[in-house]
């Protein structure tokens, strides 16, 4: 930490969930934290959102699982994870020990599977909140993701909020006609907050081999390329639900990007793809954000949400 934090209020409160600062790490871009321990002091992070957890182990997709695109990347990991039980036994204790708030991202193929994961995490020490990744094909209709349908979203969130002992954040996908409709379904189903947004569905083709660059044809687009879409989604949702706390994400690379998300209406942010290129990205971004606050003489980060000039 080089930047001057004196008389700055960095801590944020998202509907009761407290983070020492607004900069978290995004699910699937920080694994369970271990890989980053050599590079940074995890206790300096606002929080860690772990790779999505399923009830049973998920193997993930065959390679190639990644491809670069202009200012972005595509991925098709396939939500590979060892399952919630293995996570709780082998990963969670170490992570909690680092002294960083942990958000558990959960995923499933049916409302029941989501509930199983939430149930397994009931009262798990150190887990301050749950992020529900609804960008996952719904077994009842595999052509659709839960996130693309208000009813499916409502079902999953109602189930999870019933069993979860922690506050629930619903993670929205940008690939919908009206993201506010999905947000409304989640809010009505009792979500405490929202995470905006997940990757956008994209595709790339290798013109030398005539093959798709991902083994799965399509995949999730992330990185700075999608930031303008993420800012728009955060703005739309925050104006529709001013009292629902939002974790903004999508292409964050600098401290100014953090400010842009908070101005759009987010209460905290998650750094994703940037972690891959710079293991210390989250710390650099926090430093830059603190310098920005000092330069603009903003003493309390939560002020930014109300500072945008949008008439």
């Amino acid at each position: 930490m080089t930047a001057d934090r004196r008389n700055l209020k960095l801590a944020v409160d998202l509907g009761g969930v407290k983070f020492p600062n607004p900069i978290l790490t995004a699910s699937g871009t920080f694994h369970y934290g271990r890989e980053f321990a050599p590079y940074l002091d995890l206790s300096k992070l606002g929080g860690v959102i772990v790779k999505s957890l399923s009830a049973k182990p998920w193997p993930g997709h065959p390679p190639p699982r990644g491809a670069e695109t202009p200012s972005g990347m595509l991925n098709a990991i396939g939500l590979q994870n060892p399952g919630v039980a293995a996570f709780c036994d082998h990963e969670l204790p170490w992570l909690v020990e680092q002294g960083v708030p942990v958000i558990a991202s959960i995923v499933g193929h049916s409302p029941e599977e989501y509930m199983k994961v939430a149930d397994r995490l009931r009262g798990a020490p150190g887990i301050v909140a749950m992020e529900v990744n609804i960008s996952c094909p719904n077994l009842e209709d595999p052509t659709k993701m839960f996130s693309s349908d208000p009813d499916a979203t409502g079902k999953v969130i109602r189930g999870v909020t019933r069993v979860a002992s922690q506050p629930v954040f619903t993670k929205l996908s940008p690939d919908v006609t009206n993201i506010v409709d999905i947000a409304r379904a989640a809010v009505r189903a009792g979500t405490h907050g929202l995470a905006v947004m997940n990757t956008a569905l994209g595709m790339a083709i290798d013109t030398e081999t005539f093959s798709p660059k991902l083994s799965t044809l399509t995949g999730g687009l992330s990185g700075p390329a999608i930031k303008p879409i993420a800012i728009r989604c955060v703005y739309q949702v925050s104006r529709a639900f001013p009292d629902v706390p939002i974790i903004g994400q999508g292409g964050i690379w600098t401290g100014e990007d953090v400010a842009e998300f908070l101005l759009a209406g987010a209460s905290a942010v998650a750094v994703g793809t940037a972690n891959f290129i710079e293991p210390t990205a989250s710390m650099r971004i926090l430093d830059e954000f603190i310098e920005y606050l000092n330069r603009k003489r903003i003493r309390d980060v939560s002020q930014l949400r109300r500072m945008m000039k949008d008439g």
């Binding site: 590079y39 940074l40 790779k51 997709h61 098709a76 999730g220």
Partner: protein, 290 residues
Amino acid sequence: MSPANPGAWSGPAEVFAYRRLAEPYHSLTLVAPEVCSRAAPGQFIALRMPDDRSLLLRRPFSIHRVDRRPGWAGTVEVVFDIRGRGTEVLSRLRQHAALDVLGPLGRPFRYPKEPTNCLLVGGGIGAAPLLFLAEELRGHGHRVDYILGGRTQDHLLRPIEAKRASLTVTFTTDDGSSGYRGVVTDVLAERVRATNAKVVYTCGPVAMLRAVARVCAQMKLSCEVAWEEVMACGFGACLVCAVPVRLDRGGDDDWAWARCCTEGPVFSASRVHWERVEESGAPTTTGVGG
């Protein structure tokens, strides 16, 4: 610049030299003492693209050689051929240019405990890590022989240095422009017998690794393969670099995806689940990311 331990070192390195090698190959030598001092053969470094922010991801490159001359800032050399925009950008770098480096990364080749005859098998640019390996093996008192293959004479990576680094070298070229006309596996069994090799180290295209591994299995030789899979992070965080491996209990259905960047890039050939290795990424279901 975190003193990453056991992690890799991350920071800016200065280009000490750029050299154009035989036809398709380029060489970049970087001043990176922290990487140099810890590097082992088979490990790689991940280079960030300078200037152009549209090229988001680091590019991984095997450590070709290190120079640890005393009283001299350690350097690390990579060799590459031009595949796309990133390697093209790298080929335009000249002395004193700055480049952000992350490394050394990954699991290196393992050496035999006892003095052993080792055979190195490299194809095309895949031979990149083998010179470094040869030097280290000999330093540890092992005999080193070398099979170096390529499409044409020009595609034989550093043939002179290969000669110097090993007791015998056998060249193979697809077009016969140099050495034996054919591929490395055509001469492999014969060279194993002639050199009485007990361990084979290989890297190159997947098809070649597969063929070498098959021969080694038949001849009951231990074999280590250096793998190449698309990567995003290089240090275990993204799960992009999936390689199918048998689990310790080893049944055919008892397998999982290993991370090439941390559990590899060097794998024991017997651990790779070859039946599940796709040689072309034939599409399966459609993915949604995550």
